[in-house]
């Protein structure tokens, strides 16, 4: 998957394009997140606007990222989930572990 980074204040936004299912997808995702953690960027917002599918392995990587940032007292949040993914986050109850927002400005405000 393709991931590009942009900054809004002290929040790092990762715009993700593609699926999170193949080993290469997972490496791309983990690589991008770890690069931000290495620079001590602990407020991460994942933009799922162009993400189509997340399988169980992808979900595992996402949970792992959330745990890593949580261990450093940081925050991982997601925005723009497609209906299928929103349903996945609901029944896995990940919404209780990871902040999920419908709009980017709303998500950015939540970091303050």
């Amino acid at each position: 998957m393709k991931i590009t980074m942009r900054v809004a204040g002290d929040v790092t936004i990762l715009d993700m394009i593609g699926n999170m299912k193949s080993p290469a997808d997972l490496e791309d995702f983990s690589g991008a997140v770890n690069a931000e953690l290495d620079q001590n960027h602990l407020k991460l917002l994942l933009n799922f606007k162009d993400v189509g599918f997340v399988n169980s392995s992808g979900l595992g990587r996402l949970v792992l990222a959330a745990k890593k940032i949580g261990d450093k007292s940081g925050h991982l949040k997601v925005v723009n989930l497609a209906p299928d993914l929103d349903e996945l986050f609901t029944f896995t109850r990940l919404k209780e572990k990871i902040g999920v927002f419908k709009a980017e400005d709303e998500a950015l405000r939540s970091f303050q």
Binding site: S56, R61, D84, T92, K97
Partner: protein
């Protein structure tokens, strides 16, 4: 070879002829231009000489004429007449008769001077220029010199000059002071026909000699080219043989220590380089083949390991699945399982519990292969030992969570459904952790509902809290528990099978027996995916509750 041979033939044949013709034409043109230039130079030379002689003659005669000594004048005239390029020279009176030769003029001068200055000249008057000659007339009347140039045979040029001599002040003693033209110097300059012919012959000879010299040089050049081309062609033939026979160990014969020999030496250096390169290339090829062989062996070994791993995972998973289900009168149970190519981590079980309770269990481990199979093995072990507690399914889920959180990597987890059904009253306590919500459809009422999730992913978060929920079965209820492999299966259009499609099929098959219904669902799935390999395990578990 064709190209080189062509060059050689061209040098020997058409090109040689072309060069020869070009040389002759070029050299002929050069010779003509040379002769033309020579002729123009000759004409200029003659004109210049005429001017020099004119100035010399006039400059010499004038002062002597003023002295009035005719004998001295006559001697100087004779002397000037023999000067180079002077063909004729005379001073005439205005009527064209040669001066100093008539008594009338002598007497007139002697009378004017009052003395017998000039004795009688013993010479008959000579008409040098015909009386009334136009050129003479113009010279006398205008007082300006005039000349006419004419060509003579043999490319010579002759110039006739008429130079009027005015009556100047020092002459007044003899000739009065009228300042009129008193006489005219008539002279002819130029080369004679024989001199011009000799000079022209000399020019022609020089031109022909020049052309012959150039022709000789051209022929010599062609001869050398032919010899050199032959030697170069020989070198090319040797190179071609080396290439054709693939014998880069051979070398070209060096026949002389000149430029062609140097060319052969250069070729030999090149051939040596090729030979060294080919030897290195052969060694590199051997190294590559060896590397490919080793990598292939490693790949085969790894592939064998993976195959073995998959076989192990498949065996583990097959051993996990129950061979048969309980058959109480209150409920029918049926399950279907479709493993994907890579072996997923699905697991299900239906087992009897104390006091007419039945446990219904389904788990789906993240990932694939032996790691997923290992996860569900742990789950099954825990369920087998702790799962007989009918009071709280969430208690069992809690144990599974705490165990997996300690034992497995942070990105591994299990989703699960664990329901404990009291067959006597239809009450079901269940824990639904991170798992797709099961559906319950009532045949009689036509109502479809989903069980509510009450827990997150299992095995990720330490000491996460899991809860129990309750559902009371009604008569005609059918419960469908499934893994995400079913709803996330991709169709040919790239879209997922989806929960709504499943729900519709589930409702449509409400009057079919559980086994027929699961077959119906799986047939629909296969049709939807176009028979493509599944990306994840698909598991279905149906519970038909008959009492209520």
């Amino acid at each position: 070879m064709p190209v080189i041979g062509g060059l050689h033939r061209t040098l020997k044949g058409k090109a040689a002829l072309f060069i020869l013709l070009l040389s002759v034409i070029g050299l002929g043109t050069l010779a003509a231009m040379f002769l033309r230039t020579q002729r123009e130079m000759l004409a200029e030379f003659e004109a210049e000489r005429m001017q020099i002689v004119e100035h010399f003659v006039v400059g010499t005669l004038k002062p002597v004429m003023l002295t009035g000594h005719a004998d001295l004048m006559s001697g100087i005239m004779a002397s000037l007449h023999s000067a180079p390029g002077v063909q004729s020279l005379a001073i005439v009176r205005t009527n064209g008769i040669e001066a100093f030769t008539d008594d009338a003029t002598m007497k007139k001068v002697n009378d004017r001077l009052g003395e017998n200055r000039f004795s009688r000249i013993l010479k008959e008057p000579v008409q040098i220029v015909p009386a009334g000659d136009p050129m003479l007339k113009r010279a006398v009347e205008s007082g300006k010199s005039d000349f006419v140039r004419r060509d003579v045979a043999g490319d010579g040029t002759v110039t006739s000059l008429m130079y009027p001599i005015a009556n100047e002040e020092p002459c007044h003693a003899c000739h009065g002071d009228d300042h009129k033209v008193r006489g005219v110097l008539v002279a002819t300059f130029g080369l004679s026909a024989s001199e011009a012919g000799t000079l022209q012959s000399m020019f022609w000879f020089s031109g022909i000699a020049f052309v012959l010299l150039l022709l000789t040089a051209a022929l010599t050049y062609l001869f050398i080219v032919r010899i050199m081309a032959g030697r170069v062609s020989n070198i090319v033939d040797q190179v071609n043989r080396i290439v054709e026979e693939d014998r880069f160990d051979k070398r070209i014969v060096i026949d002389a220590d000149d430029e062609v020999g140097q060319l052969a030496i250069s070729f030999n250096h090149f051939i040596s380089s090729v030979e060294i390169y080919r030897i290195e290339e052969g060694r590199e090829k051997e190294r590559l083949e060896q590397t490919v062989f080793e990598r292939t062996r490693e790949l085969r070994e790894k592939n064998d390991f993976i195959e073995s791993d998959l076989k192990l995972a498949r065996r583990i998973q097959q051993n996990l699945m129950p061979e048969k289900f309980p058959t109480p009168p209150e409920a029918d149970f049926h399950a279907a399982y479709l493993p994907c190519l890579h072996i997923g981590g699905d697991y299900y079980d239906v087992f009897e519990m104390p006091n007419r309770h039945v446990g219904v269990f389904m788990a789906d481990a993240s990932g694939h292969g032996s790691s997923a199979a290992l996860l569900v093995s742990i789950v099954k072990a825990i369920v087998s030992t702790a799962g007989k507690d009918i009071s709280s399914p969430s208690y069992v889920v809690q144990i599974i969570n705490n165990t997996l959180a300690k034992l497995t990597p942070d990105d591994s987890f299990v989703t699960l459904f664990y329901g404990v059904i009291n067959l006597a009253n239809g009450k079901m306590s269940y824990s639904l952790a991170g798992h797709p919500p099961p559906m319950v459809y009532n045949r009689d009422s036509g109502e479809l509902q989903y069980l509510q999730t009450n827990g997150s992913l299992v095995g990720v978060f330490d000491f996460d809290r899991f809860e129990d929920s309750e559902y009371i079965f009604q008569h005609g209820d059918r419960l469908l528990v499934f893994t995400d492999g079913l709803v996330e299966a991709m169709g040919e259009d790239g879209k997922m099978f989806g929960r709504e499609r499943l729900a519709e099929l589930f409702k449509d098959a409400r009057y079919e027996r559980p086994d027929a219904m699961t077959r119906h669902l799986l047939d629909s799935l296969a049709s939807y995916t176009g028979g493509a390999a599944l990306a994840d395990d698909v598991t279905l578990l149906v519970v038909d509750y008959k009492k209520g």
